[in-house]
Symmetry: C2
Subunit: 569 residues, 2 copies
């Protein structure tokens, strides 16, 4: 491709909003252009990279036996009603009505569509398992778009859906898909960690996120030092260290307390006990039902809203209670009791079971309670894991948890019978002649976000360094200096030779640009090999070649050049 | 691909609605599945064909220097407001609002998006011309979906947009694109005719439709016998044969007329003159403005609503007037006058200019007018070409027009300055330093409709016959009879050999199906070569091979088989 004809415009300026390196570089180097916030054009060179990423995903998916197809973008809303997903506030669904009054969802994920497709056929156990997947645009009504391709409102996603006889059958494929994903990302130049994750609006049994470590990622997770456990902060399990565990229960007492003791820190100071000895109440409101929830933990713990919502089957519905909500309970911030607020639902963390003789639980201005014991002095409607892990906590196997942060580029879900139970007729005929619901899995990769993650990893102060596997071109041929006919012919000749030998070339044949401008464009764009043709190189009968990730340029003849580009990565 | 694992389910039954052959065959053979009316899943084998069609389009577009990219699916509605396309009733635009209140159009075509993209850059005449194109899903809020992939509400479309300094520069590319399109469709097995067409909601100067001849197509067009003219019925020009042309104007008279003379046929009978001697009025109402339009033609002509709308710049807005509208004019059907209806706008066909001494123009129960002459006895606000051509009419060059019917698979538009005049800032800097609007062209291909057109052409009573260029597989390998280990190995061996030599194979390894069932599936699916492995062929050390479009099967050895499949089309 000759650059003089190519719709590729680099830019020196960038918006202050683009603090995220990948957003800044992809825009400046002319790979993407914003339409409105969170919606991007993929310009010719950016489209090439996206297609290369998709090709690698497709190769690995096909090799794993998955079959590519494509479903409509507009999903009949009735299907989403069957699975109760139209009103889940956790999922930002866009809806549209046609002029005949039919309602549609703009596909965010396509579980319903694939289940609806499969239930149109009378399949038997012999047809199982199988996996269907597609590449298609997905839509999310995000309140805030962010960071170029990292959080957008419209994006290319690979989503796959597998159908099985049972969980056992599923597990084989699920494990295989983890390998497939790891392989895909590796070919894309990314090391991923697979962490247990929340199912969120997707539903089903459990799921994993594939995360690329990055400071600017939105996914925070924990990994155990022994390498046996990795989980997203939303779901990370950890060993509790209950205060006074095993001690005898002392008599409940209400005691005097100085009025200056208000916060948890005041308490620690006053009682000379660490935070784990205190009870702590956090109040939420269910934004759908209006219900008030009091989450009870010890002072060393934070409530994990995701866990709490899952326990209550109220995904995406909890919001912090406001002053008015507390007033309605007859209390205010800092004075909530572990018991006695009528109408509120109490959910306690499992730590309460083993902790003994806690401080707090009820509080007035000048009194507090001590030797408070769960079961004896108060109980909760539910006792469950509702607390957030933190660095230094122990995994259930006793290994120290370390914190990580990264970009979620893919995910896999064990959907189980979730959708096929809700959607009537999603059954196959089993060997025993009975109709049984499919057991399902689902597997997603965000293509644009993967592209951003690659740029986050492969860049320097001058621009992008595309891994060879997905680079838009193999070589950037640059013609320098006064463009004599001879020099032009020399460059054209090399362009033809390279192209014919299977090397894809972006040929910077632009006149009126200095060497500096061409080099800085080349560095910004980040094609793996830079080849220079100039009066100087021509005189020596050679070409200057430099890898984007190396400092030194080399003078080589045509044969050496071809060998270098074709064999070196 | 082994058929036992492939998500490919043929069906013997089909809906009564599927009278259109391509709809019936694509569904029965398992290429597509309806979600809801007008929205289709492309199943794995159908997706393959669609991808093959897209690949060929891409190859030819790239070879012509066009550059593939992709724009967002949701278009900011403000852009459509800039070009006044949000309320054009001729175009079935779907709109959606996000939760922050921003409005979007679901892309039907993407002129605004590409103009908006290009105007974000400061380009100069040196950057011109260029063409950008994309493959993306398009949406149309059709009232009636029809005929499988022929008229749908969501479909894959290739749309390209070219940018030029001026019309001259544009014409070169436009002519080239006509060649490119002809070549694309030829590679897809389709002969197309390029006919002048209406611009409809797209706007701009003029356009062409690429039509594949077919009885079931929705596009009716005329071709002159001398081959110099082809035009869609909406725009087809033809020579008028004005009654009494050149005669002297006789004095206007109102004469008695028997009451039984009501229709045009009655008039012909009574006056013993052919239809061209009578005036005829057709009344329309503008559904947006409420205006009443009286179109005046001679009795041998029909009003062409598209031409009339274009003359009035009221694209998609005219509807037939109702009794109430006529009553408001003080008249009723059959009694409309060529003059005197206050408030109505009169638009006459050009034939009026040269016709003389016409009959009619005003009518009461027992009187009519004769020797009516345009200019003397009545005039219209506009005189223009507003009549529909018919078979037997002459082209402007005097060659007889014949009628044709077909499927519109592509179109090209000379947009001119239409969009760049409406969208502020869509300018480049010319050699003289002045900012000038781009001159534009646009080029579309409906991928799904092309697929349907191919099936319409390539089928027989047993099923589809895919042209090799887009066939989902090259060969359908069929294993017949009792599946002994030897036989299975023989077939597996051939499968491997074929695949390794670059032949793509669908391998029907399904057990429990009779030869008849497998053959009838193969015929239905329509892969170019059928290869049979059975106990019989194995005994002879050969394979049975048959082309889908031939009757005779041949026994050949492996070498002959490979040669046949790899060299014969």
């Amino acid at each position: 491709m000759k650059q003089s004809n190519y719709f590729l415009k680099t830019s020196k300026t960038f918006s202050e909003e683009d603090k995220i390196v990948s957003a800044k570089l992809l825009k400046q180097a002319g790979f993407i252009q914003e339409s409105v916030a969170g919606r991007y054009y993929f310009l010719p060179i950016g489209h090439k990279v996206q297609q290369n990423i998709m090709r690698i995903i497709k190769e690995e998916m096909d090799a794993a036996g998955a079959q590519e197809m494509v479903s409509p973008t507009l999903h009949p809303l009735e299907l989403w009603k069957e699975t109760n997903r139209t009103n889940t506030t956790g999922f930002e669904l866009m809806k549209v009505k046609d002029r005949r009054g039919s309602e549609f969802a703009l596909g965010g994920t396509a579980e319903e569509m694939f289940v609806d497709l499969v239930r149109k056929y009378q399949l038997s156990y012999k047809d199982l398992p199988f996996q269907l997947y597609q590449f298609s645009n997905k839509f999310r009504d995000e309140l805030r778009a962010r960071g170029g391709l990292l959080r957008v409102r419209e994006f290319m996603m690979k989503d796959g859906y597998s159908f099985h006889r049972n969980e056992e059958d599923f597990r084989v494929v699920y494990e295989e898909m983890k390998q497939v994903y790891t392989r895909i990302f590796k070919r894309l130049g990314l090391n991923t960690i697979s962490v247990e994750a929340d199912n969120g609006y997707i539903g089903g049994e459990y799921s994993h996120e594939f995360i690329v470590e990055s400071e600017i990622g939105e996914s925070r997770y924990f990994v155990s030092e022994d390498g046996t456990y990795a989980a997203h902060e939303d779901v990370a399990k950890f060993k509790r260290v209950p205060a006074n565990a095993g001690e005898q229960e002392l008599p409940f007492e209400i005691i005097e307390q100085p009025e200056w003791v208000k916060t948890m820190d005041d308490n620690v100071k006053h009682y000379k006990e660490d935070k784990s000895h205190f009870l702590k109440n956090v109040v939420y409101k269910n934004s759908v039902t209006g219900e008030i929830i009091i989450a009870v933990v010890t002072g060393d713990l934070e409530v994990n809203k995701t866990k709490l919502e899952n326990v209550l089957r109220a995904v995406g519905q909890l919001i912090p209670a406001e002053d008015a909500d507390l007033a309605a309970l007859g209390t205010k911030h800092g004075y909530v009791h572990c018991w006695g607020h009528k109408g509120a639902r109490y959910v306690g963390d499992v730590v309460l079971k083993d902790a003994r003789n806690l401080i707090g639980g009820q509080k007035e201005d000048t009194t507090d309670s001590i030797h408070v014991n769960y079961g004896r002095d108060f109980t909760c409607e539910i006792l469950a894991d509702i607390a957030m892990a933190k660095p230094g906590d122990l995994s259930e196997r006793g290994s120290v948890l370390k914190e990580g942060r990264g970009i979620e580029v893919g995910n896999t879900f064990q959907l189980g019978f979730h959708y096929t139970n809700l959607m009537k007729g999603a059954v196959y005929r089993d060997e025993d002649g009975m109709e049984k619901p499919y057991y399902m899995g689902c597997y997603g990769i965000g293509v644009g976000r993967t592209m951003a993650a690659i740029v986050e990893k492969y860049n320097d102060e001058k621009g992008i360094l595309w891994p060879r596997s997905i680079a838009p071109f193999d070589a950037h041929l640059i013609l320098l200096g006064t463009m004599t006919e001879d020099l032009k012919n020399e460059a054209e000749g090399l362009y033809t030779t390279l192209t014919k030998s299977g090397v894809s070339v972006l040929f910077d044949d632009r006149s009126e640009l200095s060497a500096g401008e061409k080099f800085s464009d080349a560095d910004l764009i980040g094609i793996p090999w830079r080849v220079v043709v100039s009066a100087k190189t021509m005189k020596e009968g050679k070409f200057e070649v430099k890898a984007r990730n190396e400092k030194e340029a080399h003078l080589v003849n045509e044969e050496e050049l071809l060998k270098k580009i074709k064999t070196q990565q």
